[in-house]
């Protein structure tokens, strides 16, 4: 697929999301957590962009900033060419119809006092009452849509009057997916949708997500920390570390030619469920932990843990540089 002649559906440019750290009696600001620090990427219609990284690297914050659940500190998010960071409440409401989310924890993301029916119908009712649907829905329409959605995500429609606690984790995640689909969105932001699930259930949900993508022409922004899951579902993959994108490329390219030392280490640390390969391969074991994101870096933020660091990296921040078509890396190794 060539990127030039397609319009991106979602464009993120120089997005920053800082959270102030306050301390003392007057809550004086003493610093910032740089959760997302100047990231830019595009998402094209019909593709799945996977974001992978360790905990605390800012994956979830990125998604929440895009959905405007946080007001970004600076930077822009364009959805279908419109800047949604500057959008009015009404415009944002319209945009949210096309941008839906699936959350990580299927236990916390559903209201325990609502029935499955009212959970899935809620977005429909909200938009219907504000006359923002293409055509006015009757109660019967809503009912039919709820039943259709439940069946589409693989749940029995007879369960619609039940409460979330009556379902297992996998079933709840299906309810969350049905809710996200209710308004026929164009893009779904999926924040670790399978990481709380068992292996066999995880496979069911991943298959469901790919089926839905084909059927409704959906675009996904898919977050996970499991590299195999990301590889399976994504068209392109972005690797994040300490709020920055270290490498972004086509999924096949990234896994075949990881170029950033961090990507290399991440891939080599991921266990492979095959004892013959697993025992033979040489691991790159990184030392130390992910540092706290409250520090400002003068150079590469991976410097402390990097096995291939050079003196130059300490005081110069690398920028994302294209090393092959569509393959961009932020590392001084690839800049002369």
């Amino acid at each position: 697929m060539s990127e030039e002649n397609r319009q991106p559906l979602l464009q993120v440019s120089h997005l920053k999301q800082y959270f102030p750290i306050s301390s003392g009696f007057f809550n004086k600001k003493v610093g910032y957590i740089r959760a997302v620090d100047d990231i830019s990427f595009d998402v094209y219609p019909g593709e799945t962009l996977g974001i992978v990284g360790e905990s605390g690297c800012g994956k979830s914050t990125t998604v929440r900033s895009i959905a405007q659940l946080y007001k970004p500190t600076s930077g822009e998010v364009y959805f279908e060419g419109k800047n949604i960071c500057q959008a009015s409440e009404k415009e944002m409401l319209l945009a949210r119809k096309d941008i839906q989310m699936i959350f990580q924890d299927p236990y916390a993301s559903l209201d325990p006092r609502m029935t499955v029916r009212s959970i899935i119908a809620e977005p429909l009712i909200i938009y219907n009452n504000r006359h923002m649907m293409e055509k006015e829905l009757t109660r019967e329409d809503i009912e039919n849509r709820v039943e259709y959605l439940m069946e589409r995500v693989g749940m029995n429609r007879l369960f619609k009057n039940r409460y979330p606690h009556e379902f297992s984790g996998g079933q709840r995640q299906r309810i969350g997916i049905a809710r996200a689909l209710a308004l026929q969105p164009k893009i779904i932001l999926a924040d670790e949708p399978v990481s709380a699930l068992d292996v066999s259930i995880q496979a069911q949900i991943l298959n469901l997500l790919s089926d839905l993508q084909k059927e409704f022409g959906l675009t996904y922004l898919f977050i996970a920390h499991d590299l195999a899951v990301i590889q399976h579902i994504s068209t392109r993959v972005a690797v994040m570390y300490l709020g920055k994108i270290m490498e972004i490329a086509d999924a096949l390219e990234l896994y075949a030619n990881p170029s950033h030392p961090y990507t290399e280490a991440l891939l080599s640390a991921a266990p492979i469920p095959d004892p013959k390969i697993e025992r033979k391969r040489q691991r790159i074991i990184l030392t130390g932990d992910v540092p706290s994101p409250d520090k400002e870096y003068k150079g590469c933020c991976f410097y402390d843990r990097c096995p291939r660091k050079q003196p130059h990296c300490k005081d110069h921040i690398p920028t994302l540089k294209e090393i092959a078509p569509g393959h961009r890396v932020a590392c001084w190794l690839y800049e002369k």
Binding site: E54, S55, S168, G170, Q171, D198, V199, S200, I201, Q202, A203, Q204, L206, N207, S210, H225, L227, A228, V229, Q231, H232, A251, L252, Y255, A256, A265, L266, L267, S268, A269, A270, P271, I272, P273, D274, P275, K276, E278, R279, R283, I285, L286, T287, D289, V290
Partner: protein, 344 residues
């Protein structure tokens, strides 16, 4: 690594741990048997609720009673049945001979006490006559071994000053500080990131090789099992459905559940990308009031009539490979089982 004729250090025979609930008896562990040899790493794999953790809590006799109760079986450690020992003697085994690493490094350390207090307390409890200074020196030494930088200073920190990976290292240091013969690691890396997971697994492997500790590794991650374990037991609904050497299990899974489990994990290679994942349909069963049948039959794609009627006996495929599935039973055995069920 596993040597032939290795000494058996721990033997579990027909362990049954039930929980009394309002809805009925929950058979969390129902007839689990396995041996653990010297220097060996044994993997226990299964989905949540399959009874992996309860099996190991039973070995340490840490199951909360009530509601839980070990209702049957034997656990032999050094020719003693742990289940018959009085509490006072059990304390010599717990921590000293068999120690445990828990899943959640955030909650398994006491947040009010310094790391030093917690480590010294452990060592002094288990080793009679050791002075406080010696215990502290030993603790610092252990922290160094697990790779905590500036251990002399960091030992006086509180748990909240450590990151998740470092807390898990402290747990490992504590578990190994008494030179236990058996280490039970209950999902030691589930709460950690991949790069930290790689560090911790390497550490467990290195230390167990150096100290000759046998390890029981509980996990749901088949990748971790593939890299770490010599033998694997696959658990489903409180029972071990398949037991085999790791290579054998991955190359020739015999039970349809194992087969499905291995096939449903996405692989990191280009060939598996376009394909649909194999998925085991349905949900894991509710283990309350299970009928005497194969608990996997509603999800099994090789299910036969007999699977609805009786639980399959364990069948030895070769010296190290056992499976509980009717696919491998002879017709006579099936007939016999059906007749027996009818008589009941």
């Amino acid at each position: 690594m596993l040597k032939p004729n290795a000494k058996t250090v721990l033997q579990v025979k027909g362990l049954q741990t039930y929980f009394k609930t309002d809805a009925g008896i929950l058979k969390a562990v129902d007839g689990v048997s396995f041996d653990l040899h010297e220097n060996e790493a044994l993997g226990l794999v299964g989905e949540s609720g399959s009874g992996k953790s309860v099996t190991n809590l039973s070995i340490m006799r840490l199951v909360q009673t009530p509601p839980g109760k070990i209702v049957g079986g034997e656990i032999y450690f050094e020719d003693q049945d742990i289940l018959k020992l009085p509490e006072s003697e059990l304390r010599n085994i717990r921590g000293n001979k068999v120690s445990m690493i828990f899943q959640d490094p955030m909650t398994s350390l006491n947040p009010f006490l310094r790391i030093s207090t917690q480590m010294v307390e452990t060592i002094m409890l288990h080793e009679k006559g050791i002075t406080k200074q010696d215990a502290l020196a030993r603790s610092i030494d252990m922290l160094k071994q697990v790779g905590i930088p500036a251990a002399e200073k960091r030992i006086f920190c509180y748990p909240h000053q450590f990151s998740g990976g470092m807390r898990q290292r402290v747990m490992i240091a504590m578990a190994l500080s008494c030179k236990a013969e058996v280490l039970i690691a209950d999902e030691p890396t589930t709460a950690l990131d991949v790069t930290i997971q790689a560090q911790i697994l390497e550490l467990i492997e290195k230390l167990s090789n150096e100290l000759g500790t046998a390890v029981i590794l509980i996990t749901h991650d088949l990748g971790v099992v593939a890299g770490m374990c010599d033998r694997v037991c696959v658990m489903y609904a409180g029972k071990i459905v398949e037991k085999a050497l790791t290579d054998e299990l991955f190359s020739h899974p015999a039970h349809p559940y194992t087969e499905g489990l291995i096939a449903s994990v996405p692989h990191m290679d280009a060939s598996s990308k376009a394909k649909r994942l194999f998925s085991i349909e349905g949900q894991p069963p509710n283990v309350i009031d299970l009928k005497p049948c194969c608990p996997f039959y509603p999800r099994c794609h090789k299910c036969q009539e007999i699977c609805h009627v009786a639980y399959p006996p364990a069948k030895q495929l070769d010296a190290e490979h056992t499976v509980s599935c009717w696919l491998y039973a002879t017709d006579d055995e099936k007939k016999q089982a059906i007749e027996e069920e009818k008589r009941k």
